[in-house]
Symmetry: C2
Subunit: 190 residues, 2 copies
Amino acid sequence: MRDALLAAGAVEFQEHGYTATGIAALAERAGVYKGSFYHHFASKEAFAVEVLAAYARAARLESLAEGDTPPGDRIRAHFRLLHEQLEGRGYAFGCLLGNFAVEAAPDNAALRAAVELCFAAWVDALAATIDEAWAAHPDEGRDAREVAQFLIAAWEGALMRAKISGDAAPVDVFTRVASSALFPCDEVVD
Amino acid sequence: MRDALLAAGAVEFQEHGYTATGIAALAERAGVYKGSFYHHFASKEAFAVEVLAAYARAARLESLAEGDTPPGDRIRAHFRLLHEQLEGRGYAFGCLLGNFAVEAAPDNAALRAAVELCFAAWVDALAATIDEAWAAHPDEGRDAREVAQFLIAAWEGALMRAKISGDAAPVDVFTRVASSALFPCDEVVD
């Protein structure tokens, strides 16, 4: 019942946003009584934090560090996985992390902290892989953490735009420009 | 009274988001009776489209094409103006355009169309200036429209993150990385 609620939450939050999602609609989608919700979760806020945690786990950040493929390939595979997941949900759904970042009210401290933790973990994992990719270019003169933050921002902005266009075009632009502009180390990596 | 409502709308929408903004709070902030709202605007949706139009005009896209300063300087001045406006409103407010892009429901066709128009005008203006900056590098091999879309996405993603952090750090990262990664033509432009 708890898992059914979490799965329903991911869809409801992405379809309607945080504010517009009601517990009644959530319970109905999960096929449980509304009262059951409060048996499993203290509040909509606490519930949203758990839905976000499950969403973040699906991004498999650990795959950025794993395996014997070159770091540049792992970065591309990472964004390809995110793109496939987005395609599966539909482009109009955007990114749950980005949607929560925009919607979390100043007084929703728990959700804001969870959003910030997800971004920080993502920057850490991506920056480490960019660092690895740049190892052969020590005098590159760029900061891997800042490039990671920039790439993640560009990804989120692309998904924001895809939410309106409803198609892959903004994500395809991200993939092409990010690759040509930010990985001049490709000739070494590939 | 109409102008007071539009000014109040910009603040209410940025503070609470589209969904959570109510006409009563809006009228109260503008210092008018709730009934006056419907005298001036057909709906919250139609009102949001006008608030967005005023917000977009403040970005002064025409300044990207104007003046006798080099195109690279105009691009930097453009994002500096946006950064100053953001600082004035407070980093936690984010970008009204981006916030609406995330929040506009699939059935809110008028607002979605207005958001798409704003993004398209922004991409057009920025791409033309990037093209100008690249004129001396005809074999650059990159697409100015795609780079413009990528930059705008990175800007929106940075403002999304600043909405949570409440400070300038994500915007400063945008400024540094965008400049070093995407304007290799600087030595010609400056």
